[in-house]
Amino acid sequence: MNSRLPQMTYAAVIAGVFAFPALAQAQITEYQQDQWLHTAAITSHVGNVTGDGSGAEERYRRYCQVCHGKMGDGNGESAQWFEPPLYPKPRDFTLGVFKCRSTPTGTLPTDEDLYNTIGRGMDRSNMPPWNTFSEQTRADLVAWIKHYSPRWQTEKAGPPIEIPAEPEVTAERVKAGQEVYSRVQCWKCHGVTGNANGPSASTLTDDPGHPILPYNFHEGRPKCGNSDTELYKIFMTGLDGTPMPSFSDNIKPDEAWDLVFFLRTLQSYPSKAKEIAEQLHLKPLNPDGSLPK
């Protein structure tokens, strides 16, 4: 036993030698933030507006810090009371991973993506739509948010995905969308009727390991927007940090539009696709996810 002690000590020291730099790299310090903030990169560009991170600290403190934390790590004073899955934990900006993007999975979002998220809020979370802010304030906050993660120093935002023009919704497209919903197994999480009760629903966790609920198409709005284009983006870019993957490798753009139209039939809102589904007497998928006969 005693003879092994020096070996264990050496192993611990070696592990520490490697672990400390790794930890230090992961640990964002205020000093680093200040350094980054003073680089030219910590600006944002949304339309004609240039956001300046250095002008947003007090606004961040006033509006955002209580959830996202002073260090942007999602550990604000309120975060402890958010109990997933009903109340998702605040975003950890230090990771540079964001759900709502127009860019491919794994890439950084564009400034406009972040800008839109601030204005739209996140439904079914404590993130309200901050759409009373001026454009400048939102752009400044985008720049401030970016300064929390070193990813913005070394990476550029991904290129926005190409979204073909939206086709006309037809009965064939609605039915084709249901086929896509079955084939790529959306139902496993979202359920065959879109009620978020698929066989995998109860097992889902986000990247930090918190339980997470799939979207229930019968309640509320999708987190990243409810327009047809935004729905399209959600499954073609995925919601990074969550179990919702990008399906850009699995479905073609035209099929993605079909899926958008089918998803409209699941929602409680009136839509043309829903009218068509009612005219078709479209049946839900079978319990095993297969298409109805």
């Binding site: 205020e30 933030q33 200040d34 903030l37 003073h38 507006v49 250095s54 002008g55 600290e57 007090e58 606004r59 403190r61 006033r62 509006y63 810090q65 209580v66 959830c67 004073e77 309120s78 009371w81 958010f82 009903l86 109340y87 204005g119 809020g121 996140m122 439904d123 079914r124 979370s125 404590n126 993130m127 309200p128 739509p129 901050w130 759409n131 009373t132 802010f133 001026s134 454009e135 400048q136 304030t137 309640e219 509320g220 709005r221």
Partner: protein, 485 residues
């Protein structure tokens, strides 16, 4: 940047003890019991800091205004109380221990103290001491998604309670933000909310413009700063940049049990539009109008001439209207401007109106002999009686040093443009008042509010001293610990 923020923090830390020392040296004050709205219960519900909704509590910022306009909802599909822990209780209490020094230059006093024969004269009275504000016990929030309520029992400093505000509201009818209906007793849709005023002194803790009544006038029904009983429709755009509202009100100044007119109503309208001025921020411009009728004629009982509450007829008209601007100059500075033009029927100008509360008052009429202020059949006004009119303006600049510290000042002036009785000095009743103040919030969290409050108000009114009709001047210095939880 960070160093700058830290230095601010240090400055704040040094300020707090110096303020405490000032408190010890100078004492603390109180203010009037003007109920004010700041609801940590909302912050607790949503996990947001007070500063998210308040420029400096209780004054709302535009986000807070939108939250209010949405029926105390963030619109995140978690607004219904079913999403809250069952133990959550949306209640908030606010009270302010104060020290104040009040000085009024002309008070009516006996010429010789205790001697009732030699008559009265005027004397300056100055008093100071520790005191309390009234208590506001707010409970408000959502009953269900798109159904909200507000209940505010409020007391004066002695603990005598009344219902300051009670209403239920149906929000976003048909998922349409332009359809919101409120019913009950509520604050009028004043862009510059007196219920969220940042000041606490007796004269500085209200907006004079919202309560002005010309000298000799007895129309209490047009006070747009008082909560009123009625129903309100309100609509707004999704981002609240455009707001519009109309309310139908009983002309009773918010008093319950229908004490005045048998059928007297008023209406209040407000509309505004906010614009994004880039780096200057979002500024809002709008207007308001209150148009109404109130009684001048009363049934009496028992030959005493005492009016019967609720029997008032003989409605006469009045209106007030003006513009409002909330203008921001970047992150730290803003100014609010409110104007008002007021008009009362000549009947009110001659003292008719609130006869119920002043049954022994007498008014001039065409006979030349003063008579009870009851517009009985056959009564006509004294020759030459005119409708009193006035104009006023309120300017309130703020400097937000940081989210925890605000400096403010206010200038208000009201000038009579026409007196009701010919020959009356043209400046009789004119008001001028200045207020200076600061509020420092030593902490900023999502549970409670606390502010070190310091304020000075100077008030001047022409020709209204009680004996000689000289100019009346008063001042008040106030320090307080303003808290709510």
């Amino acid at each position: 940047m960070r160093m700058w923020a830290q230095s601010l923090l240090c400055r704040k830390v040094r300020l707090v003890p110096s303020f405490g020392a000032a408190l010890a040296l100078v004492f603390l004050i109180l203010a009037s019991s003007q109920p004010a709205h700041a609801i940590p219960a909302f912050a607790r519900k949503y996990g947001l800091r007070c500063s998210a909704c308040h420029e400096s509590w209780p004054m709302l910022n535009f986000f807070g205004q939108k939250f209010k306009d949405n029926g105390y909802q963030l619109m995140n599909d978690r607004d219904s109380p079913i999403w809250q822990n069952p133990s959550y209780w949306p209640a908030t209490m606010r009270m302010t221990p104060i020290w104040h020094r009040v000085s009024t230059n002309r008070n009516q006093v006996d010429v010789y103290t205790g001697d009732t024969v030699t008559g009265t004269t005027e004397a300056k009275i100055t008093s100071s001491g520790f005191d309390l504000s009234g208590l506001d016990f707010h409970t408000a929030g959502t009953l269900e998604k798109n159904f909200s309520f507000y209940l505010l029992p409020s007391s004066d400093p002695t603990g005598a309670f009344h219902f300051e505000s009670v209403f239920a509201r149906v929000d976003n009818i048909g998922n349409n933000p332009w359809l919101n209906v409120k019913f009950g007793k509520f604050e009028l849709d004043n862009l510059l909310s007196e219920k969220r005023i940042l000041t606490l002194t007796a004269n500085g803790g209200i907006y004079q413009l919202y309560h002005f009544i010309p000298a000799g006038d007895n129309n209490i029904f047009g006070q747009i700063g008082d909560n009123q009983l009625g129903a309100e429709w309100m609509g707004h755009s999704a981002n609240d940049r455009t707001r519009i509202s109309a309310a139908l009100l009983s002309s009773n100044d918010g008093s319950v049990l229908l004490p005045y007119g048998s059928e007297s109503y008023s209406a209040f309208f407000a509309a505004s539009q906010a614009f994004d001025f880039g780096k200057l921020g979002v500024s809002r411009f709008g207007g308001y109008a209150m148009v109404g009728e109130a009684p001048t004629q009363w049934l009496t009982n028992g030959g005493s001439g005492a009016p019967i509450p609720g029997s008032g007829t003989g409605n006469k008209g009045y209106h007030r209207e003006g513009f409002v601007g909330q203008i921001y100059f970047g992150e730290h500075a803003d100014v609010t401007v409110v104007t008002q033009h007021g008009w009362d029927s000549a009947w009110f100008g001659q003292g008719y109106g609130d006869f119920v509360d002043n049954p022994t008052a007498t008014c001039a009429n065409s006979t030349g002999f003063p008579a009870p202020c009851n517009n009985l059949p056959g009564t006509s006004l004294a020759p030459g009686s005119r409708a009193p009119t006035w104009n006023g303006v309120l300017v309130e600049p703020h400097y937000v040093v940081n989210p925890q510290w605000i400096l403010l000042t206010r200038y208000e002036t009201i000038r009579m443009s026409q007196q009701s009785t010919p020959g009356t000095p043209s400046d009789l009743g004119n008001v001028t008042t200045y207020t200076l103040g600061t509020r420092i919030n030593p902490f900023m969290n999502n549970r409670a509010g606390f502010a070190y409050h310091a304020e000075y108000n100077w008030f001047h009114q022409d020709g209204t001293s009680p004996v000689t009709g000289s100019n009346l001047t008063s001042s008040e210095l106030l320090f307080g610990f303003d808290f709510d939880f």
